[in-house]
Amino acid sequence: MPWFQAQMAELQRLAEEYALSQQQTASNIVNVSEKMRLKRAEFIDAVQVLVDKIGKIKGISACAAYHDGLILAQSAHPAAIDAFGATLQESARAAQQGAALLGLGELEQIVIVGAKNKVAMLSIGPLMLCISSPKQINLALALNRPH
């Protein structure tokens, strides 16, 4: 499996494990609380690691992860980080409406291509990963050559 798809699959797995830990019902609330906390940390730490790795890939301008349009993790040199969040919220809302109308299923990714730059937004559990690059960069190729 190409590097980026493998990373995304791993994050989806961690997100699902965290979601499962939230559904646990146990008489010992302390144990449930601790397990949820650890699973959440595992998921969020993995998101931060991936954001850092993507931010270092040649050709990628910035990478950040958002929750409800608010910044959750960012690469070392982010640009217009709040504008990213606002764009993400607006785009996701429009895309979700469109996806529902067309029966596309749950939203997985959105790509906006401008004359100069482009941005890809990918859904990971409750979060959205945003990756921006110059327009001419082939994101699929760049993301599968992390080193």
């Binding site: 609330i29 302390v30 449930v32 609380s33 601790e34 906390r37 910044i71 959750l72 969040g85």
Partner: protein, 136 residues
């Protein structure tokens, strides 16, 4: 035996509340995490520097109360979280149970989405812990 179990349970629940606060302190930019009771007194706190706990407790309750009244005025019903954005950071406060609040103080470099996500995910379990804690 029956007299000992509740005390152990209460101790482990209080320990878990402290563990949750320590976990929140591990987030980038968070400088204090506290549980404040209905009267503005701090019952649990984790912090990375000297901080006036009485001032935090009282101000969190006052600010949250004012925000909750403002929300009622505009028909927004229950207030789930209040975020104060200040020159040097943020103060976030969220109701837990029976008038108790969870308050976080952050520096300017905190990632608001990260802190808010952690708060939103933490509150349901804190509510359960508190309801057990207050009834045992």
């Amino acid at each position: 035996m029956s007299n000992i179990h509740p005390l152990d349970t209460r101790k482990s629940q209080s320990g878990e509340i402290d563990a949750i606060l320590r976990n929140l302190m591990g987030i980038q930019g968070v400088s204090a995490a506290a549980i404040v009771d209905n009267d503005g007194f701090v019952t649990h706190i984790q912090r990375d520097s000297e901080i006036n706990t009485d001032a935090i407790g009282a101000s969190v309750q006052v600010v949250f109360g004012a925000a909750a009244r403002a929300a009622q005025h505009v028909g927004h019903h229950a207030t789930n979280m209040v975020i104060c954005e200040n020159a040097e950071g943020f103060i976030l406060s969220t109701p837990v149970e029976a008038g108790f609040m969870l308050a976080l103080v952050t520096q300017r470099d905190a990632l608001l989405g990260r802190v808010r996500f952690e708060l939103k995910e933490t509150i349901p379990v804190l509510k359960k812990l508190f309801s057990h804690y207050l009834t045992h």
